[in-house]
């Protein structure tokens, strides 16, 4: 890199400021310097004194600072970033070195800023991370500079395209690799869930969690830049059936990891409920392109139906049906309401439809609040819903299978994993069918879809109906798991959150909806100190996503295809005439 750029002054770098461009021959040096600074930052103390809430995690406070090589937590992440940067700088055979350096640099910056800011705020000023009363701790500053230098190196160097790795092995080897990848994924999920802990003792849960996410982002970015994620993705595609089964098994194994406690099982079950609901919503919004602002009502309908048929003392109906039957009834009733809400799509489009769905969501919440027909318990909610029972085991019990003991709530977790798998299968199978193509065609151009013979009315109502049924199923499990169903769980904010999960993750994709739901429901769990700012942070995150990654975190393969390089502003077909001359009045 350095050798070729020495001869001719880089003509295309003209618009860049002269000062930075002059660094171009020295990107390798910059990367080494950045890496060394990052390492150095991780070896320094980060906090000059013990904060009010106790010593900062990862033994980063001067007083209980451990030897550099015993670093843990975020300091360990920085050690890895630093070493990776130096290796990438020195081994010229690695493809896309600048791109990797950029990911490492951004990761380092994020980790330093998150921890540095946290200590500064908790410690009451910059003294906490620099020098105070004779003690010094410049860890945050040094690591931040290291990250900036790394990012700078990638900025002045030419950003290579993501390399395509074509490694192919014997089938068994590839299966083994997939197995390893999926086990790693499982451990990673467990680590993300548990990082920072919870409750009163975990005072820095938010910082640890965010820092962990940032580090993870940096590493995954580096792996992606090196082409490894793309390769793993291709492996998945090649052995789809096997990979799907492995993923399902891995999900069922989560209780065996560090996340196998009652608390995390509850969190994971809640995430599953919202993920299943988000996938259902993704049919309506992502595939058919119909904005639904009242979608959580279907989850609520499913939950209230289940509550009333559970034999709970507080329910008005007071009959107790077997749980599988309850699920079917909940899905059917939610589906009927879905079709009713969807029927205005025959007449109204776009924003008007959004308002109709918004109104429906509001009608549902108000009715539930006023205990309509005695079915919802009003502000008393419906408490005391008995747990699901099968083979004489209550689902709220802990489980012991031979030497393995599983925490309470694990059965609900299994149940929700199966539901999510089912919902995913429904989504995937429908997406690649005549019906799914009809939905996408309607999303793309409703008039053209009609001109292709698609009876748009029934097809759109079917989207609402199926989406609502899936939410109804999730609602039935939710009711039994939480044992209390209140209208407060199904307010407008929840609908917005679900919609945000779909948009954040990537419209029209399954991993997108799951990832979006996970992020949006773990974050509040972890960032309790920010409970008051939850919506603000939410909004900021969404604005940033829409600005820098409008296709979502896990975009649809089709949308990804057009974004092979950087997500520069895309010209969405502006090169063809857009006069809507042939539109119906």
């Amino acid at each position: 890199m350095t050798a070729t750029t020495e001869k001719k002054p880089p003509a295309h770098a003209a618009p860049r400021p002269k000062g930075i461009a002059a660094l171009k021959p020295h990107t390798t040096t910059l990367m080494v310097v950045g890496g060394v600074l990052t390492l150095l930052g991780s070896f320094l103390p980060w906090a000059t004194f013990v904060l009010n809430k106790g010593p900062y995690p990862a033994q980063a406070t001067l007083q209980n600072f451990t030897a550099p090589l015993a670093s843990s937590g975020f300091r360990l992440h920085l050690v890895l970033f630093g070493i990776a940067a130096i290796v990438v700088a020195l081994v010229k055979r690695i493809p896309a070195r600048h791109r990797i350096a950029r990911a490492l640099g951004y990761g380092t910056i994020a980790v330093s800023v998150i921890n540095g800011l946290w200590i500064t705020v908790e410690g009451g000023g910059l003294g906490a991370i620099t020098a105070s009363e004779g003690s010094v701790a410049f860890g945050a500053i040094v690591a931040l500079i290291g990250g900036i230098v790394l990012a700078l190196a990638s900025r002045v160097g030419d950003l290579e395209p993501v390399p395509e790795i074509g490694w192919k092995f014997n089938r068994w080897v590839e299966w083994l690799i997939l197995l390893v990848v999926i086990v790693l994924l499982l451990l990673l999920v467990a680590a993300v869930l548990t990082s920072g802990g919870f409750g009163a003792t975990a005072t820095y849960a938010g910082a640890v969690f965010l820092s962990f996410l940032a580090a993870l982002g940096g590493f995954l970015g580096a792996l992606h830049a090196a082409g490894l994620l793309g390769w793993v993705n291709a492996l998945f595609d090649r052995h789809r059936g096997y990979a799907v089964i492995l993923l399902l098994v891995a999900a069922l194994c989560l209780p065996l990891t560090s996340a196998g406690t009652e608390y995390w099982m509850t969190v994971a079950t809640n995430i599953g409920v919202y993920a299943a609901t988000a996938i259902g919503l993704n049919i309506v919004v992502g595939l058919a392109g119909l904005l639904d602002l009242g979608y959580v009502a279907f989850l609520g309908i499913g939950a209230f139906v289940a509550a009333n048929l559970s034999g709970a003392a507080a329910s008005a109906v007071g009959i107790h049906l077997p749980f599988p039957l309850v699920m079917v009834i909940a899905a059917v009733i939610a589906g009927i309401f879905g079709a009713i809400v969807g029927s205005p799509t025959l007449r109204v489009r776009g924003d008007y439809l959004a308002i109709v769905t918004l109104a429906f969501g509001e009608i549902f919440v108000r009715s539930a609040q006023n205990n309509i027909g005695g079915l919802t318990g009003g502000s008393n909610a419906i408490p005391g819903i008995p747990p699901v029972e099968a083979f004489g085991i209550g689902f709220d019990q802990a489980l012991r299978i031979g030497p393995v003991s599983l925490p309470r709530g694990v059965l609900y977790y299994f149940l929700i994993v199966l539901l999510v798998a089912f919902v995913m299968a429904v989504f995937a199978n429908l997406k690649y069918s005549r019906l799914g193509r009809a939905w996408i065609a309607i999303r793309e151009d409703e008039d053209a879809a009609r001109a292709m013979g698609i009876r748009t009315g029934p097809v759109k109502i079917l989207a609402f109906l199926i989406g609502a049924m899936l939410a109804g199923l999730a609602g039935a499990i939710f009711a039994h798991k939480t044992a209390t169903v209140s209208y407060e769980s199904f307010r407008f904010l929840e609908s917005v959150t679900l919609l945000a999960a779909v948009v954040l993750g990537g419209m029209g994709t399954i991993p997108g909806a799951v990832l979006g739901a996970s992020i949006l429901f773990i974050l509040p769990e972890k960032l309790r100190e920010f409970a008051d700012y939850r919506l603000l942070l939410f909004g900021i995150a969404l604005v940033l996503i829409m600005r820098y990654r409008p296709q979502g975190l896990v975009p649809d393969a089709h949308r990804r295809a057009e974004l092979v390089e950087e997500p520069e502003p895309i010209d969405t077909g502006g090169d063809k005439p857009t006069t809507r001359e042939a539109v119906a009045p």
Partner: protein, 290 residues
């Protein structure tokens, strides 16, 4: 109304009038399309050509008049019209931009595929067979219009000329008896236009009757069996290309140019026709107006 209204009439409009507020976009338009015929529809901008297509396909409901298909009145819903056997393309391309070329054609198969929602859900053997058949048919159609090589490209990434042909393939996928083409060569260069002309002739050979709107008179006169001239919503002249070409009313009202100039244009058209007879279709040039 010289066309014989025998059993060979596929599509017929009678007395179609379309009123938009104070504007009468179509006034008492009647014509019939015979089996295997190619009709050209010409007229100045704003004459009502596209409006006529919209009335024929159920996108607009005519203020008065009727449209019939093989003697039966056509339903007033675009989806049902397509199911009955009348497919169309749009003047301003209306593909599904973030679907691939193949998927666009598969959407065209919608009315000819049988998949219940349940089989879509379960992906059973019947479903897989219908998907395979649809894909095979889509591949044939893409081959037919010369787009096989872009099967997996997103429609929005295709060059303009390819987009127009993909729209034709998508319309053909509905297995129409009648194909309505709204300015299929707009924005194309001479070679692409010639390709399209050949394509339309090939389509006719498969037994499909075609109505084509075009401004390029050369294109129309060398392609069509019959030409309709629409001016300010009125069907002014109808006849063979030769009759229409020579008609002074056409020269005056539509071409609006002194006769000598029109003569020149017509000569040009004839030359092109001769050239087309033994000239190989030119090298395709892509990306006309993008």
């Amino acid at each position: 109304m010289s066309a014989p209204t025998t059993t060979s009439t596929v599509l017929a409009a009678s007395g179609v009038t379309m009123q938009f507020g104070g504007l009468r976009a179509l006034n008492d338009v009647s014509f019939s399309l015979n089996e295997g015929e190619i009709i050209g529809l010409i007229g100045p901008n704003g004459a009502g050509k596209t409006t006529l297509f919209n009335c024929l396909t159920g996108l607009y409901t005519p203020t008065s008049g009727t449209v019939s298909f093989r003697g039966e009145p056509l339903p007033g819903d675009p989806a049902l019209v397509t199911e009955t056997g009348v497919a169309r393309t749009f003047q301003n391309i209306r593909l599904f931009p973030s679907m691939t070329a193949e998927e666009n054609v598969l959407v065209g198969r919608h009315v000819r595929m049988k998949q219940s929602p349940l089989s879509s859900l379960l992906h059973g053997p019947g479903f897989r067979r219908s998907e395979r058949e649809a894909r095979e048919r889509a591949a044939e159609l893409l081959e037919f219009v010369g787009l096989r090589r872009v099967t997996d490209e997103l429609a929005r990434n295709l060059p303009y000329g390819d987009q127009r042909r993909l729209e034709i393939a998508r319309a053909l996928a509905t297995e129409p008896s009648v194909l309505l083409l709204d300015e299929p060569t707009a924005g194309m260069n001479a070679a692409e236009t010639e390709n399209t002309r050949q394509l339309i002739l090939k389509i006719r050979e498969t037994g499909i009757s075609v109505v084509v709107i075009e401004h390029d008179t050369k294109f129309i006169f060398t392609l069509c069996d019959r030409v309709l001239v629409l001016v300010q919503g009125e069907l002014l002249v109808e006849g063979t290309p030769d009759e229409v070409r020579g008609d002074p009313r056409v020269v005056e009202a539509y071409l609006g140019a002194p006769p000598e100039q029109v003569e020149a244009q017509i000569h040009e058209a004839q030359e092109a026709e001769e050239a087309a007879d033994h000239g190989a279709p030119g090298e395709k040039q892509l990306g006309g107006s993008s």
